[in-house]
Structures are given as structure tokens and as C-alpha cells.
Symmetry: C2
Subunit: 301 residues, 2 copies
């Protein structure tokens, strides 16, 4: 299978850890540019408390503007941390949500003041309503390969949390290397275990390039049957609860690797670079992606 699906998470996971609070118009323009690249799924915001993540405080206005002005053939999922967030999203016409937990109790304690078990109790309420309401649900697992507080995370915890997400009825589970500690050998070992338990077409990988291993980990994932990857245009991102967790892997890096392997993402590179460049300039940041820099400097792949 030569098609790769990229789930763009720049407007949400990418921006939520940027200190510069951007105006709604800039976020909308970023999403609009992303929508013109060929991307079919763009996670655009999170219905969290403004005090928790100020960058996401305009979630309602942003979603409403996207819904009314951009193509409705593209999926614009939103992160939802709890029932209140779900109700707000539903009322605005959100059609796909993402729920999240982690393999690590220490991490969920810092992130959402819950144990992993408690997070599933809360998510079940939301997932049950979503099923009734006809809303698609995706599940995120943080710290799958390692936790800033607990250290190594055994694959058994990942298998267990993945199962619990599928039991909630999610259509896809995104396996997150939140702090960018995964290495190719570990990814290969973990994916071998996952593939014996789950349908790999329902598993996505979500790498951070903190230690420069995201491309190698993506390569190994492609070789082990993964065809869905989360990434951020320009390599934005990080995690407010994980020190040193620099950006999501850049969408252009994933594009480059996939296309170099003869795989198709359906994404126009020039438009993708333009979207990344746009948001990087607004943030006053250099691209985290060497490919992005080289493409701009040399004009060639």
C-alpha cells in the first residue's frame, strides 16, 4: 500500500506550546493555507480551559470561522479534554473529536490531574455520547515510548491503553512519542507487538523530533505497516507538560521521506512549505526541519 495519510496537527499540537499568542486571523490563515495543500485531516484547536492553554482560548470562534469559510470536504477534528469541552464542540457542529490519555500515571497526573484509569472513566462518558451523536473519535496516547517522570514505558502499557481506546470505539489510535525519546529499534520492537494485537491500519504514529530520530522512527514505522502519521507544518510544537519536548516532526519531513520511498501523500510540497513558512514567520521562528531549510535555500528536493 503506497498511500500515506498525514494528520496535520500544527494548529493544535504545534501552536499550543508556542509562547507567542497568535490572533485568530493568523491561525485561520494558517489553516486555510494548510487546507490548500491537499491535506485531508487538520486538527485545528482544543476545547480546553483558556487558563490551561491560552493559545487555544479562541477555539469556538476559530472552529466557527473554519466551518463557515473553508471546504467541508476536509476533516477538522478538535481535541476535547472532558464533557464540557465535548458539549461546546458539539454545539458548534464539530464532526470529529480527539480524546487523549497516556501510558504513564505520572504524566496524566501533571497533564489532566487524573490517573490513566480515571481518564478512561471520563473519556467513556464522552465517547458514549459521541457514538450516540454520530461524532467520529480519535484517541491519543502520550508517553508511549517514555515519560519525563517515569522514564521507560514498557510496551505492555501501550498495548493495554491502545485496547482501552479501541474499547471506547475510537476509529484510530495515535501513538505518541511525547518527549521524543523513541529510537528505531524500540519503535520496531513496539510495532511488532502492536501488529500482533491490532489492525495496523487503525494505528497512527505521532513523533516528536526532540533528538533527531523522528525520520528514522518514521522509516521503521513505514516498514512495519504504519500508513498514518501526525505532524506539524514547519515542525512547530512541543508539550507544555514535558520539558525539553521540542517540536512535532515537521510535515514536510514526513512528506520528503514518504515521497523518497515512492509513497504518495496527496500533498503539494510547495503549498505545504508556504504554509509552514507563513506560520514560522508569524512566530518569528526558524524551521525545525532541515529539509524545509534546504528546499528554500536550494529550490530543489
Amino acid at each position: 500500500m503506497n498511500k500515506v495519510k498525514i494528520v496535520e496537527v500544527g494548529p493544535r499540537d504545534g501552536l499550543q506550546n508556542e509562547k507567542t499568542i497568535l490572533p485568530l486571523e493568523t491561525k485561520f490563515e494558517f489553516i486555510k493555507k494548510l487546507s490548500e495543500t491537499g491535506l485531508q485531516t487538520i486538527e485545528i484547536t482544543s476545547f480546553v480551559k483558556a487558563s490551561a492553554i491560552p493559545q487555544m482560548s479562541d477555539a469556538s470562534e476559530l472552529f466557527t470561522k473554519v466551518k463557515s469559510e473553508l471546504l467541508n470536504t476536509i476533516s477538522y477534528p478538535c481535541l476535547v479534554p472532558n464533557l464540557k469541552g465535548y458539549e461546546a464542540a458539539l454545539a458548534l457542529g464539530v464532526k470529529e473529536i480527539a480524546l487523549f490519555s497516556a501510558t504513564s500515571d505520572a504524566f496524566t497526573a501533571k497533564n489532566i490531574n487524573s490517573t490513566v484509569d480515571e481518564s478512561f472513566v471520563k473519556m467513556k462518558e464522552v465517547a458514549d455520547l459521541a457514538k450516540k451523536d454520530g461524532i467520529k473519535v480519535r484517541g491519543y496516547i502520550s508517553t508511549a515510548f517514555g515519560c519525563p517522570y517515569e522514564g521507560d514505558e514498557p510496551v505492555e502499557k501501550l498495548v493495554s491503553v491502545t485496547k482501552r481506546f479501541f474499547d471506547l470505539g475510537v476509529y484510530e489510535v495515535s501513538v505518541g512519542d511525547t518527549i521524543g525519546v523513541a529510537t528505531p529499534k524500540q519503535v520496531r520492537n513496539f510495532l511488532k507487538v502492536l501488529s500482533s494485537e491490532f489492525d495496523m491500519s487503525k494505528i497512527a504514529m505521532h513523533f516528536h523530533d526532540t533528538r533527531g530520530m523522528a525520520m528514522s522512527n518514521t522509516l521503521v514505522s513505514l516498514e512495519n505497516g504504519i500508513r498514518t502519521f501526525d505532524s506539524s507544518a514547519g515542525g512547530l510544537g512541543g508539550c507544555p507538560y514535558a520539558k525539553g519536548a521540542t517540536g512535532n516532526v515537521a510535515t514536510e519531513d514526513v512528506w520528503y521521506l514518504c515521497h523518497s520511498m515512492g509513497m504518495e501523500t496527496g500533498i503539494n510540497l510547495d503549498k505545504l512549505i508556504e504554509a509552514g513558512q507563513y506560520i514560522l514567520e508569524k512566530l518569528g521562528k526558524n524551521p525545525g526541519s532541515k529539509f524545509h531549510k534546504a528546499y528554500i535555500n536550494t529550490g530543489r528536493i
Copy 2:
């Protein structure tokens, strides 16, 4: 085979493209720090015309100081572009030299004003003398995966130039991705061809991380029998004749990947980071290696 040999090329390939001309004392200190890491081979300079590469104009003084003050159990090869450079190196007591050519005539024309054929005529003179003089010779092949002037380079040219180097009597051929255009699929395909023709224990890979693919290419190389890699501490480097060719892959990146795979390099990471940090500070540069940054920021692998 779980041992990986790293050939440190920072003082030569790394520094030669840095605009800041460093004093001899700084270069020596860098080499001294590298010599304390466990590295067994450190290419320290190039006997070229000072007008061609000003950074290397102190080759004689630098080699002499290294020879008299540092451990003689470490190999300190020097690049030699021609007979005159060879004679200068020999007179100083250099025990190992590196010769270089490329797969691309257009590149050798810009680099050494020769065709590839002509370069081998000149190198044969030097290699024959070196044999007689008991000097070890290593061969570098530039533009193996692509040329800034010719574009794609077919594997047949790499095979042909590799053969010619072994015919000269070199003990090892270093296959260079001078402009950082190699991708994992290409590297795998090229290495499959090379392995059917050559003893892979005599082939080294020399990646530049221009497009962020150096780690993935190193991974594929490890999986295809390569156990020797050239790299620069701190990710210094580039090529004065190849626009956009940013740094060599960082030695600490190669270290991290190899050790994450359960392989041994014999190098002390903290001392390696210290050497890289030292030279980056002298150059006023940020590390090209995300692993380097993360290690310094988080204090963990």
C-alpha cells in the same frame, strides 16, 4: 558485529567550510578534546594551497603540534590533494593520508579542476609513493548519491570509482553524500549493489545532514553491513564547492543511533559533547544536532 568505527572529520571536513578562521591553538584544543573521547581516527587537516582553503593554511604547524603532544596510538590522517601536498605531509611524519575524487566530472572540475579520470592519474602517483613509503591511504568519493551540477548519479559510477580506488591500494573507501541528497531507499539500493562487488568492511559512509536524512541513511547503512561512518563533532561542516551542503552528520548523532541499536563505538558521550560544544562556541554556532541540544537541555539520552 556490534562494533562501529567512527572516523571523526570535524577538524578537516567540518572546519574547512567555516568562514571564521580559527587560531591554531583552538584547532589543537579541539583535536585534543576529541582525542580524549575514545575516537581512534581523527582527520585533522588538509595539505592544500592556503589560497584554496584558508582554514587549512596551518596544516604543517597543526600536524607537528599534534604529533609531538598527543597520543600516538590514535591515527591522525590528513587530506592530500596532490603530490606536493603528499611530500609536505610525508616530510612531517604523517602516517595516513586521504585521497579524494568524485563520481561527477562536473564536480571534480569545480573542486580540483580535473575530470575524474585525470584525478586518478594524479592520485596514482601519490598512491604508488605512499605504498613504497609505508603510508596508509584512504579514498573519498564525493557526490556518490547526487551532484549539485549533474543531478542524480547512477550507482554504476559509484561502483566504477570505488573499484578504481581499491585498485590504487586504499584500505578503505568513504562514500560521500556531499550535498545531502541521499534517501534511505537510494542508500539501500546502492549498498545492495556495492555489497555484491566489494567487502563491506572496507566501505565507510560519509553523510551530510542537509535534508535531515543522515540518521535514516545511517540506519539503513547499519542494516546493510556498514560499520564505519565519517562524522563531525557538533555537526560542523559542508563543502565549499556544493551550495546548500550544510554540515556533516554530527558525531553525537551517529553515537546516539548506534548505541540505541545496541552497538558500541568506544566513545565517551560526555567528552564528545564537550568537544563539540567547545568548537561550536569558538565558532559562535548552534549545534546542528538535535540530540546534542536535547542532551544539554535535559541531561539525559
